[in-house]
């Protein structure tokens, strides 16, 4: 079976550390399996194209976020998530855990996506809205809007919204 005629697109709408993984994992893997892949970065997904990433996550409103600690799985009650510095601490813990478990940093997966010629489209409207320019971004993204994405989607076999 050849994958040549199959293709995939992903709308990337979220830019926290945890939400950054699914789109980059799926895009790089699909590309490795021979599928042409397009990623459309919009709203909070757009900053994932910035040159310098310092991705954070938040425990607030995220009751499923339980990290292994001292043999148990520990979550953080919402009331404690308002403590200053708690998101930075959680993010650091998550990054340490990922490093220990051999999970690639997002920066590496992004580089592999660029290397695999994944087509990256930065949403023009979001660029205007949040006042970014292509100079703030890594090399590679092109600008486009909803119609650009729809054209891609009509030609793709798999279209994901993450």
């Amino acid at each position: 079976m050849s994958a040549e005629e199959k293709s995939m697109s992903i709308i990337v709408t979220k830019g926290s550390l945890d939400w950054a993984y699914p789109p980059f994992i799926l895009a790089t893997t699909a590309a490795a399996m021979g599928l042409p892949v397009t990623m459309f970065f919009t709203f909070y997904g757009l900053p994932l194209l910035l040159k310098d990433l310092n991705l954070q996550l938040t425990a607030a409103g995220n009751p499923a976020m339980k990290m292994p600690m001292m043999g148990a799985h520990m979550g953080l009650p919402n009331i404690l998530t308002a403590i200053p510095g708690i998101d930075a601490a959680c993010s650091k813990m998550m990054k340490n855990l990922m490093n220990k478990k051999g999970v690639a940093p997002i920066e590496d997966l992004r580089e592999l996506a660029v290397e695999a010629e994944v087509r990256l489209i930065a949403c023009q409207m979001t660029m205007d809205l949040f006042e970014y320019s292509l100079d703030d971004m890594i090399e590679g993204p092109e600008l486009g809007g909803a119609a650009t994405y729809i054209e891609v989607a009509t030609q793709s076999d798999i279209n994901l919204f993450i």
């Binding site: 079976m1 790089t28 490795a32 399996m33 051999g102 999970v103 690639a104």
Partner: protein, 75 residues
């Protein structure tokens, strides 16, 4: 002996697949790539990868938590 060996031990999903794809580029047609991995998910993933890309998964085995795959480049 395989034409190339990729040591993907300690790497988690999707790195073994991504590194394997890269390594396969260095393998001549009908040559073989041996992959060593510790990710238990890599068993199902290399089977799917080979089905999708038309490469042949000739062997896979496990020894003490290390998985060994032998892929023939037919894709």
């Amino acid at each position: 002996m395989a034409d190339h060996t990729l040591d993907a031990k300690g790497m988690n999903c999707p790195l073994p697949i991504l590194k394997a794809r890269k390594a396969l580029k260095e393998v001549p047609a009908n040559g073989t790539l041996e992959i060593l991995a510790t990710d238990p998910g890599s068993v199902a993933d290399f089977e799917a990868f080979c089905r999708q890309t038309g490469n042949e998964l000739m062997e896979h085995s496990e020894d003490g938590g290390t998985y060994r795959f032998l892929i023939k480049k037919t894709g």
